[in-house]
């Protein structure tokens, strides 16, 4: 059976390689892909949008619908992870740890919840104490990473990056908090509810900017119609609209990444860690 699979794969590969012979050359100026739209983008984009980074102009302005639904897909991924994995059932077994000595109590099959205070605290089976060096270094690094992520979001117009990449980096800085301390620390700082609201809010910002353009009398996501609302140079209005959209994407992606991580790593119970 595996041999048959190998033969089929090889045949398909050979067919595809045969098909590449008909392709235009690499970087051919007369290829169908680069005679219609690309020239227009390259010539007009800077003049029309005042955004130096062509990729951002294409992604957030000319093909704004595409990016909007991409953001919606990321949001849906977060939602799917939450709905499939989140487990609201009450735990049967509980673990308590005596803080001064480190003795672990294991309570089975009891509905009663012991009182936790200074002496005893909740803990989980998988919990290991956070490593001192990793903890300290991550504590120092995380704010710098976050400012870098926000920089990437804000400078989507000038340099590579944008909402998606910045959001992912911000999300992984929060994930780093969960890795270096434990999951409880992250959940205490950033509540689950807040994450859900933010994930929806990011998509809402994107759609809302588009809808405001519609109310102002333009097409959906036609940023030029926003000019009366915002003071400043009307030439830059498209760049400003793109900035708003990027911020929405960043918020949505950050929240979705953290939701996915939390739900996967604790199998939906949110209890790994103390």
């Amino acid at each position: 059976m595996r041999f048959l699979g190998l033969i089929i794969v090889c045949l398909t590969g050979a067919l595809l390689l045969y098909g590449t012979g008909e392709f235009p050359d690499w970087g051919d100026p007369d290829s169908p892909a680069s005679i219609h739209l690309s020239n227009y983008y390259i010539e007009k984009a800077l003049e029309e949008t005042q955004v130096p980074n062509l990729v951002t102009a294409v992604l957030a302005d000319y093909r704004g619908f595409d990016t909007m639904f991409e953001t919606a897909v990321v949001f849906c991924a977060g939602l799917a992870c939450f709905l499939l994995l989140r487990d609201f059932k009450e735990k049967k077994e509980r673990f308590y740890r005596h803080t001064p000595t480190g003795v672990i109590l294991h309570v089975k099959n009891s509905k009663k919840i012991l009182k936790t205070g200074k002496e005893f605290e909740h803990m989980d089976k998988d919990w290991v104490p956070a490593d001192l060096i990793i903890k300290t270094v991550c504590r120092i690094l995380i704010p710098f990473i976050q400012i870098y992520a926000l920089y990437v979001v804000a400078h989507g117009d000038f340099s590579p990056g944008g909402g998606f990449q910045g959001g992912v980096i911000f999300g992984s800085s929060l994930i780093l908090l969960a890795i270096s301390y434990d999951l409880k620390t992250l959940i205490q700082r950033v509540k689950e509810k807040v994450l859900g609201i933010f994930a929806a809010l990011g998509v809402l910002i994107y759609v809302g900017i588009g809808a405001i353009c519609m109310f102002m009398g333009g097409n959906f996501l036609d940023y030029a119609k926003l000019a009366p609302l915002i003071p400043g140079d009307p030439h830059h209005i498209r760049a400003l609209g793109m900035l708003g959209v990027e911020i929405g994407v960043g918020i949505a992606v950050t929240a979705a990444m953290v939701i996915i991580y939390i739900n996967i790593v604790s199998a939906g119970r949110h209890d790994e860690g103390r």
Partner: protein, 183 residues
């Protein structure tokens, strides 16, 4: 917005001092974040500067206790002493790296190396001093910190006898002097 296992001392009674301290740590975090924003951005556009201000405010407001859990006035001195410590560390790293290069290119390497684990105890108290010492040990070739815990007990994996013998001496003294602790 505090980390429970962070060792943040919560003294009851003088909440005013605590809030003042947290305000100072917020301020210093804000300034650091804004400086790094300027270095990253490299553009002095008013819109971008405003955005930088807002982002550094957000980071400093929500995560001020990460960078400086409890701001002490002595931290500024520690910072300058740390800057004076860095060139010595880099020189030490370069010096010792050539030793490791010699080991890596030696044809009879397996006769030269003799890996073993040593344990020693120090009296360092604060987290950041222990982490600095551990990272310095790791950066100086020939030795890697395996574990370092709250009590200041270090387990170090050394690649040969020579680099193991030099271990707790000068570097520990320098680090303790930087952070103002007893040896």
């Amino acid at each position: 917005m505090t980390i429970s296992n962070n060792g943040v001392a919560k003294e009851e009674g003088n909440t005013k001092v605590t809030s003042l301290k947290s305000f100072f740590s917020f301020l210093i975090t804000f300034i650091l974040m804004f400086l790094s924003w300027i270095v990253l951005s490299g553009k002095f556009d008013p819109l971008l500067l405003w955005l930088g201000g807002i982002s550094s405010f957000l980071v400093a407001y929500y995560f001020y206790d990460l960078l400086f859990p409890a701001m002490e006035p002595g931290y500024i001195k520690v910072f300058f002493r740390f800057i004076r410590y860095t060139p010595w560390l880099i020189w030490e790293i370069i010096k010792a790296n050539f030793h490791l290069l010699y080991l890596a290119f030696h044809p009879r390497m397996k006769d030269l190396i003799d890996p073993h684990i040593i344990t020693f105890k120090t009296n360092l108290k604060s987290d950041i001093a222990i982490a600095t010492l551990a990272n310095s040990i790791t950066l100086t070739p020939g030795t890697i910190t395996v574990t370092a815990d709250q009590d200041g007990v270090f387990r170090v994996h050394a690649i040969d006898r020579e680099s193991a013998e030099a271990l707790p001496g000068t570097m520990l003294k320098k680090v303790a002097q930087v952070f103002g602790e007893e040896i």
